[in-house]
């Protein structure tokens, strides 16, 4: 994604902010939709489009959980493990999902060797009524999910094409 692409995305909303720095976060989120993470070239493009240094935009990006500075899978599956979900079995759910994917469960993000799916523990997703709940990229959080439903969802995600824009 080029700086021009990013400018085309943020220029129409620039007038809504008294300071153009506010566009850094929307620019980062938009830049991420292409590859699903922010490689150095994407950060450079955001820097050019917003007029801030690459070091600055990277420092902002590094603050937020949903901006990725390392490669992640075609789809990112976030499994909520905070208290309400824990009380309804999120720990076993994520372990079962990792087993289904053939990856080692870790507190951080782990990606399948084929790059199809990144599975990660998430802090409270704001859907405790649906516990245990999960979120695929930034789609609507779903739940409550049993193990077999969750595994079936993983199979579906693996088989499906990547969305054109990866909002995560």
């Amino acid at each position: 994604m080029t700086a021009a692409d990013i400018k085309a995305h943020i220029d129409p909303i620039r007038h809504e902010y008294a300071d153009g720095r506010s566009l850094v976060l929307p620019a980062l989120k938009y830049a991420q939709t292409e590859q699903g993470w922010l490689p150095p070239e994407a950060l450079a493009a955001v820097a050019e489009a917003t007029g801030y240094s690459q070091a600055y935009v990277e420092s902002v990006a590094s603050f937020y959980d949903r901006l990725y500075l390392e490669p992640v899978g075609k789809r990112v599956v976030s499994v909520c493990i905070t208290l309400s979900c824990m009380l309804r079995g999120s720990d076993e759910l994520i372990e079962g999902m990792c087993e289904h994917l053939g990856v080692e469960h870790s507190h951080g993000a782990v990606t399948t060797p084929d790059g199809a799916i990144t599975i990660q523990e998430a802090q409270c997703l704001g859907a405790c009524d649906k516990a245990p709940c999960i979120q695929v990229d930034a789609e609507n959080t779903i739940g409550p999910l049993g193990q077999s439903e969750a595994n079936a969802l993983l199979d579906e995600l693996r088989a499906a094409d990547r969305p054109r824009e990866l909002w995560r």
Partner: protein, 431 residues
């Protein structure tokens, strides 16, 4: 024990008002037209009269907060809606936005009129992209119908609403961290004062209120501040959405009149009670950052004063319930993990302290804890509490400190034996 559908009736009546025509047919935008026919100060006065307290967690009177904005500032003033909703156990704003986005849009424009602002922002947590899309669609309809934009409803008042998304950070629900994030910076809290009312967004006067607070404004203007003030107890007027989750049969959002319903009624009647054969153990009544309660507190009425009277807070109204199958030490560890993960790192007592809290609780759960760890935790709390810029660290301490106070025997048992794995997964199909 009345379940109320008065203030957020459109949200909890089961009918989703995501279409403007439906919202207008349900009485929507009558209040905004009424407000725009009044003087700004009179609208503000009605907010004040209502006694509405901030529904995000702090419970500060909304009208008073709005009255702190200087009227003679050379800078433009802003209204910012806090929709970061990241407090564990809290999911009420999500449903207001999903099911009743126009009531929020009507409320925020009304607040804008009261404080003479022409630009408002709704900051949503990054995970609420779906809710943002619902809101964007509603905003487009509201703009097309002249309820947002220039010359709103023919009144000459102009107000724009901008939706802004975060990208995954609990701390951005803290108002000054939210402003930093909205200004395109790392979301770290500011030193206060100055308060946002004086120097908020872009160093300008800013009113920040939670989604639920702003959505309460249309019925207040429609019926008058005194109408709202007459609902519930004098110091905690109105109704409140409680999000209830954890070990209850019917988790969800319920609107109740403050002071009219006890914690027992919320859990056992409204939320369907516990699984058969299970007993109540504890609950985090106002989100996870508040002191826990025990069985002896179940008959406490749910309002700001009564809950403070038993040593906790109404907070966000995110009530997490745990039955006797759960382990308080394991639950404490999970919360410590949350706060350690979400500490922004600006203040060392929080950054380091939450890390140590998690480590100590982890070794207890693993069965390698020491009896002195209870004293160590206590001394740690004293070294963190009140020594940070924002309330995150105190929120991390409150549930754990109170758990040790009420369930010391459980901690001792876990230190001696570790904590067994939780019992098998909650039967999803049976719920």
């Amino acid at each position: 024990m009345p379940i109320m559908n008065n203030v957020y009736r459109h949200t909890t009546a089961g009918k989703h008002l995501t279409d403007l025509a439906d919202y207008e047919a349900a009485g929507g935008y009558v209040a905004l037209k009424k407000a725009l026919g009044m003087d700004s100060d009179d609208v503000l006065y009605q907010f004040h009269r209502s006694g509405l307290r901030g529904r995000g967690g702090a419970g500060f009177p909304m009208g008073r907060k709005a009255s702190f904005l200087p009227k003679d500032s050379p800078h433009p003033s802003y209204v910012v809606c806090n929709g970061d909703e990241s407090e564990p156990g809290t999911f009420k704003d999500r449903e207001i936005i999903e099911f009743n986005p126009f009531q929020l849009l009507e409320g925020i424009v009304m607040a804008g009129y009261a404080v003479r602002s022409h630009q408002t922002y709704i900051y949503l947590r990054g995970e609420y992209e779906h809710q943002a899309n619902v809101l964007r669609a509603a905003l487009a309809q509201a703009k097309a119908a002249g309820y947002v934009g220039d010359n709103i409803a023919g009144s000459g008042y102009a107000c724009n609403v901008t939706i802004y998304l975060g990208a995954g950070a609990y701390i951005c629900g803290e108002e000054t961290a939210l402003l930093e994030s909205l200004e395109g910076k790392r979301g770290q809290p500011r030193l206060k004062p100055p308060f946002p009312a004086v120097a908020g967004l872009y160093h300008s006067p800013t009113l920040i209120n939670n989604v639920e607070t702003l959505a309460a404004l249309p019925p207040i203007i429609e019926n008058g501040g005194d109408w709202y003030a007459a609902i519930g107890p004098e110091k905690s007027p109105g109704s409140k959405l409680f999000s209830i989750s954890g070990h209850v049969m019917k988790p969800g959002n319920y609107e109740i009149v403050l002071g009219d319903t006890t914690l027992r009624e919320l859990i056992f009647d409204i939320a369907g009670g516990l699984r058969p054969g299970r007993a109540f153990k504890t609950c985090w009544v106002g989100g996870s950052s508040v002191p826990v309660l025990t069985e002896e507190h179940l008959d406490t009425p749910l309002d700001y004063e009564s809950l403070q009277g038993v040593g906790t807070f109404l907070g966000s109204g995110g009530c997490i319930v745990m039955d006797d199958s759960g382990c308080v030490v394991r639950a404490s560890l999970r919360l410590a993990h949350f706060y350690r993960h979400e500490s922004c790192g600006k203040c060392s007592p929080c950054r380091e302290g939450t890390n140590w809290m998690e480590k100590i609780l982890q070794r207890m759960v693993d069965g390698t804890g020491r009896m002195e760890d209870l004293e160590l935790l206590d001394s740690l709390f004293g070294r963190i509490s009140g020594k940070t810029l924002c309330p995150l660290a105190d929120g991390a301490i409150a549930p754990i400190k109170s758990s040790i106070k009420y369930f010391r025997d459980d901690f001792v048992r876990v230190i001696e034996n570790g904590s067994p794995r939780p019992e098998p997964m909650w039967e999803v199909a049976g719920v």
